[in-house]
Each structure stands twice: as structure tokens, then as C-alpha cells.
């Protein structure tokens, strides 16, 4: 299982490093919010999910999409704005979706998918499906009213949902303490009546362990659960680079996280040979995905007004 986790973790890291490398060429026609440094959160939680389970995420969604098994070619093609992208080039990096892998939504408006995930969990329970919904969002999203409203409804209806707050300490360039009267996000969750715990986002194996304890209980109908996962964004809020020069944070602050890099730490626990095989396969897959994107066509003009409604003809009558 450590091999699988490493494959997923290494794959996400390398895909985003590659995105960052290619970005200056302007081939990628979409803003990118990289998860480099935060990959373990998605990988750890998704390791405890089953295929029927559902996830919702944010504009910082590459890691979640890939951790859930979203198609890499379709993702890179999406970033390249090609017709072969996971949304035909219409949504871009901030709106990845993979219905087959049950990645049911990502949004560029902070907080919105928390409520969508809660509604999905209601549908799951209404249909007596044994699925669990996992809702991923940032520390900033907890300041939006929809966060409190969603937790209240999830508890009121005892919904099968796991809330995963990826606390990277920042909303763009503003630290949590400057936005929240108290940093105790878990306290706020508990006050709504659901169990909440803070976890170390650099400790993948612990994350997997906790998720594997909790997900079955949520599935069994014990009601919603809350994870606050402490993590750190290594790159700038949006874009490929680093931003220590901006002065809102220091490299010293990042140092311990980089020292605890979950990718490196997990790598060290694997034998050289097996690891080399995994890495070679991933590099191959990445090269293939970028080549696929490069070679893919852009959507044609007719695509502009398609998909407004299921019945195409209505699009025409809509001014």
C-alpha cells in the first residue's frame, strides 16, 4: 500500500512541477493554483475512500482530482484549453470534474462546494446508498457563512459527510490570525455538534490511518465528521513560482514543512528499485499526457454556445 500512496503522491508532485515548468511558455491558458506541499491531504483522505464515494473540492483542485484517479491526459488537455480536456477546455484548471471518479465539483468561488457536498450527502442518504461524501476546502472558506450553515444542516440531518479543511495558514497573502477572531477552526466545528480533530498534513501515514478509522463510521451513519489538516503551500497562491519575495511570509516559515516533505519522507521508506519503477512509470505518464495535450485540437466555434442547456435548441432562443 505504501507503493500505491507513493505513486499517487509522487505523481501529483511531478505533474504540478511540470505544469510550473511549462507555464512560462504560455501554452497553459488558465490560472493555476498549485497544491505543491499540500498533496498529502488529498492522497491521505482519498486512500480511505471507495470508488462509490464522492468528493468536492476547490480551484486548487489538481491534487484532489488526481488522488481520486482523475484522468491525467484530460486534466493537462484542460489546462491547455483543448477539446479533449475534462470539460472540453471550457472550465480550465479551476473547474476540474471527473464524474466517473466521483469528483463532482470544484469552484473558484470560495466555500461554494461545501454546501454542494452537503446536498450530495443528503441525496446519498435519501437513496440509502452506502457512500460517503468528502468535502475539501481551505482555512479561508471557514470564514464564509456557507460554512456554518452547511455544518448545521449536516449535523441536523446526520449526513454521511467528511469535512476536510486544508489549513495552509493563508488566504492568498493574508494569514489566518488576521482574518479569524480565533484560529480554533475545530472548536467552531464542534460547536455545531460534530466531532472534529486537527491532523498533521505532512504525516501521510497518520492521515491515512485516521481517515480509515473515521470514514467507515461516517459510512455507518454516525453522522458528519471534521478534519482540520495543517499543511503548507510552497508556491505562490496562483501561478507557478515562489513568492517569498513578496514579504508576506518568510522562507523560515516554510522550512520545517519542506524539511518534512511527505513525498521525500515516504520515498525514503521504499526500496530503491521499486521506487525507481514507480517514478519511471509516472514520468512516462506525464510526458505522454503533455504530448497528448499538445497534440489535441482546440474546441471548434460551435462549442461556444453548446452545453448551456441539455436541450441545445434553447440556447439559441436565450438572448
Amino acid at each position: 500500500m505504501r507503493e500505491q500512496l507513493y505513486r499517487s503522491l509522487y505523481r501529483i508532485r511531478r505533474v504540478e512541477e511540470e505544469i510550473a515548468r511549462v507555464y512560462p511558455t504560455d501554452k497553459i491558458k488558465s490560472p493555476v493554483h498549485l497544491s505543491i506541499g499540500q498533496e498529502a491531504v488529498s492522497v491521505g483522505v482519498c486512500a480511505a475512500l471507495q470508488p462509490r464515494d464522492v468528493v468536492y473540492g476547490t480551484y486548487r483542485g489538481h491534487a484532489l482530482y488526481l488522488a481520486r484517479g482523475g484522468d491525467l491526459r484530460a486534466m493537462i488537455a484542460e489546462l491547455y484549453g483543448r477539446a479533449t480536456g475534462c470539460t472540453k477546455g471550457k472550465g480550465g484548471s479551476m473547474h476540474l470534474i471527473a464524474p466517473k471518479q466521483r469528483v463532482m465539483g470544484t469552484s473558484a468561488v470560495v466555500g461554494t462546494t461545501i454546501a454542494n457536498a452537503v446536498g450530495h450527502a443528503y441525496a446519498v442518504r435519501y437513496r440509502r446508498q452506502a457512500a460517503v461524501v468528502a468535502s475539501f476546502f481551505g482555512d479561508g472558506a471557514t470564514e464564509e457563512g456557507v460554512f456554518a450553515e452547511s455544518l448545521n444542516f449536516a449535523v441536523l440531518k446526520r449526513l454521511p459527510i467528511l469535512f476536510v479543511c486544508e489549513n495552509n495558514g493563508y488566504a492568498i497573502h493574508t494569514r489566518q490570525e488576521r482574518r479569524q477572531g480565533t484560529p480554533a477552526i475545530c472548536e467552531r466545528a464542534r460547536a455545531h455538534g460534530l466531532p472534529a480533530e486537527r491532523l498533521d498534513g505532512d504525516d501521510l501515514l497518520d492521515l491515512v490511518g485516521r481517515a480509515r478509522d473515521v470514514v467507515p463510521r461516517v459510512r455507518a451513519g454516525e453522522g458528519p465528521w471534521f478534519f482540520e489538516v495543517m499543511t503548507y503551500r510552497w508556491r505562490e497562491h496562483v501561478g507557478p513560482g515562489c513568492d517569498y519575495d513578496l514579504g508576506y511570509r518568510t522562507e523560515d516559515e516554510a522550512a520545517p514543512h519542506i524539511a518534512n516533505d511527505p513525498v521525500r519522507r515516504l520515498a525514503e521508506t521504499l526500496d530503491r528499485a521499486g521506487r525507481a519503477v514507480i517514478e519511471a512509470a509516472v514520468e512516462q505518464e506525464i510526458a505522454d499526457a503533455f504530448a497528448f495535450a499538445e497534440a489535441s485540437p482546440f474546441p471548434t466555434a460551435e462549442e461556444l454556445t453548446s452545453d448551456v442547456f441539455k436541450e441545445e435548441d434553447h440556447a439559441a432562443t436565450l438572448r
Partner: protein
């Protein structure tokens, strides 16, 4: 999902056709209740919720008995959380349910705009058609008895403005039932606009299921002198105005757009091409409203074809006052509509205002709401 049955059904009944001699008379409230009951009976994916949906008043009776019949998981009241409950409705729809989310005042949708405009409307297109939101949002426009500033707005034009949303505003019990069925079966988000005063209307409603889908406006009175388009409750006032006008020998053609988005402008254009005069009456403000869009489209379509007389009536350009002394002036009514139409026909202000006819009075609804 028998989704294909929707538009055909809507088409199968030519909107311009006089309504069939119907078996029964129902109120608008009963028609909504019946459509909801029939759709819920037909499709387990249909669920109904919103503030106070399951309380003793059951949303003016539109949900009467449904909580008992379908149980608390399918029919339930919600917390006061319009934003999250709308987001939850979107999530339910993404999961394949067909939620009907009810709001006793359209004003409260201002708390749901993010999920409706930024999520529900965008889902199908921004995901390249790989997901959709079959959601119905029922929103009521309040009027009378001092509903006042925050309980009286008709904000349907906001939803007409945004691609990806459909908007319907039925004016009769017949359409209330048919349009709600069509909306529930629609695979995309639909705003279903109910005017509080329409709830008291009675009319013929067939027992069987039928759908009045998008695409066809209805000519509710034929005439050659002036075209009057009346939206939602204003359709009732316009039909009364048509009778005031008949008293002075003016034949008004009255049109009910029924669906505001997508809008059947062809029916309106055809009428105006004949009459040369268009009066649009909305239960909303005029600036950037539905009336502006209809007037603009007609003027564009008939440019170079013929001269036009154009006029809009709607809310006065101010906040709705509670005192009846001012509230009465805030709204168009049958008599002011008739007067405006006559001025259009005469091509100049006539100063005419018909004497109120007792048989054409508004039944104003009495508080408390």
C-alpha cells in the same frame, strides 16, 4: 427520467389555442400542489423543501398533506440558511435528485444568488456538459397589505440575464400546474415565479399530467389595435384592461409569455407587426427588466418593417411603500394599463382613465401574511 416528454408535451399543447373545456376548476394553489404531488408520485427523485414547507400553513397550502404523504425525508422544512440550502439543492441535483426549493418571498433569493448565478447556472456549461442541475426554485412575489420594501420585489430579470437559468411565471392555474411539471422534468435549473395574488385565482385544470414547456407564449385575447404583454399577476390586470378598452372600442391583443427565459419573442413580434403598438406590463421595476428586453427585441426585429408605438409599465422607480396611499400608486392596475394602451392607440396622451368597474376590481389580499 422521461425528460424528452417535457418539451413535446409543452409543444403538443399549442399555447395560442384556447384552453380545453376542462373537467374541473382548481385554484392556483391547488394546481401547484397537484403538480407537485403528481411529479413526486411519478419520480422518486423529486423532493420538496424550503423554510416552513412542512409547517401548518404548508406554504399557503401549496404543500398541504405532502409531508404526510411522502414523509419527512422527501418533504422537509429547512434552517434559515438560504445560501447553504440552495447550495445543497445544487448538490442534490448533481447527485441526480430533482429538488424543488421553495421561498415564500423572492426577496430572500438575494441570499441565494451566489449558488444560483455562480454555480447552478454555470454547471452544465463550465463542466462541458458533463454535469447538470435539474433544480426548481419556487419564489413568491408579495403584494399588498404593507408587504413593504423587502417582501414585494419581482427580481426575475436577474435570472433572465444569466445564461444557464430558465425562468417561468405562470399566470393561471392551468399553467401553474403545467409549467411546474415541465420545470421539474427540465434537466436544467428553473426559477418558478409565483405571484402571491395569483394564489387566489381559480380556473380549469385537467386532472391528468401535462407539461407546459418553454418555447410558446399564449395569446390570451385577440385584437388588432394594440399588443399588451402582461407578466405574472399583470396578466390578470391586462385582461381586465382589455375589457376596459373594449368598452371604448379598442381591441387589445393580450399575450402571456408564460416562460420568460427562454422567451418566445416570435409570438409577440407577430402580434406587434399586426397592431403596430406594444405595451409591456411587468410586476417588477422597468430598468433592465423583462419589459426592457421585450421592447428592445421587438424594436430590433421590426426595425425597417413598420412604425411602432412602444410603452412599458411596472413598479414605480422607488422602494415599495407600506402605506396603502402610496402602495396603490406603486403598481400598475387594469385602469392605468387601459389608459396607457389607449394613449398608445391615440398616439397622444388622452387623459382618459376608465371608471372602476366592480366586476373588474382587484381582490387585494388581506393581512397578516
Amino acid at each position: 427520467m422521461p425528460r424528452l416528454s417535457v418539451k413535446p408535451a409543452g409543444r403538443r399543447l399549442p399555447a395560442a389555442e384556447p384552453r380545453r373545456p376542462a373537467e374541473r376548476t382548481l385554484s392556483y394553489v391547488e394546481a401547484i400542489r397537484e403538480a407537485t404531488d403528481q411529479e413526486m408520485g411519478r419520480d422518486p427523485a423529486v423532493i420538496l423543501f424550503g423554510l416552513d414547507v412542512d409547517d401548518p400553513k404548508a406554504i399557503q397550502g401549496t404543500a398541504r398533506g405532502l409531508a404526510e404523504k411522502y414523509g419527512p425525508e422527501r418533504v422537509f422544512g429547512t434552517p434559515l440558511s438560504e445560501d447553504a440550502m440552495t447550495g445543497a439543492a445544487v448538490g442534490m441535483a448533481l447527485a441526480g435528485l430533482r429538488p424543488i426549493h421553495v421561498h415564500i418571498r423572492m426577496d430572500f433569493l438575494m441570499l441565494a444568488m451566489n449558488q444560483l448565478v455562480n454555480v447552478a447556472a454555470k454547471t452544465r456549461s463550465m463542466y462541458g456538459g458533463r454535469a447538470g442541475v435539474p433544480l426548481v426554485v419556487r419564489a413568491m412575489i408579495g403584494k399588498s397589505w404593507g408587504q413593504g420594501a423587502q417582501h414585494s420585489q419581482g427580481l426575475h430579470s436577474f435570472f433572465m440575464h444569466v445564461p444557464g437559468l430558465k425562468v417561468v411565471a405562470p399566470a393561471t392555474p392551468y399553467d401553474a400546474k403545467g409549467c411546474l411539471s415541465a420545470a421539474v422534468r427540465d434537466d436544467d435549473p428553473v426559477l418558478y415565479v409565483e405571484h402571491r395574488l395569483l394564489h387566489f385565482q381559480k380556473g380549469p385544470v385537467p386532472e391528468e399530467r401535462y407539461a407546459v414547456g418553454p418555447g410558446r407564449a399564449r395569446v390570451t385575447a385577440a385584437g388588432a389595435d394594440v399588443t399588451i404583454v402582461g407578466i405574472s399577476w399583470m396578466q390578470v390586470e391586462c385582461l381586465r384592461a382589455q375589457r376596459y378598452l373594449a368598452d371604448v372600442g379598442i381591441k387589445a391583443e393580450v399575450i402571456d409569455p408564460i416562460w420568460l427565459s427562454p422567451l418566445d419573442i416570435d409570438t409577440v413580434v407577430a402580434s406587434v407587426e399586426k397592431t403596430g403598438r406594444l405595451l409591456v406590463v411587468d410586476t417588477a421595476w422597468l430598468c433592465c427588466g423583462a419589459a426592457a428586453e421585450i421592447v428592445a427585441q421587438v424594436a430590433e426585429r421590426l426595425q425597417g418593417v413598420r412604425d411602432l408605438g412602444l410603452r412599458r409599465l411596472g413598479f414605480a422607480p422607488t422602494t415599495c411603500p407600506t402605506t396603502p396611499a402610496l402602495e396603490e400608486l406603486f403598481y400598475p392596475n387594469a385602469r392605468t394599463i387601459a389608459a396607457a394602451a389607449r394613449d398608445l392607440v391615440e398616439g397622444a396622451p388622452t387623459g382618459w382613465l376608465p371608471e372602476e368597474r366592480s366586476d373588474l376590481q382587484s381582490i387585494e389580499f388581506k393581512g397578516p401574511f
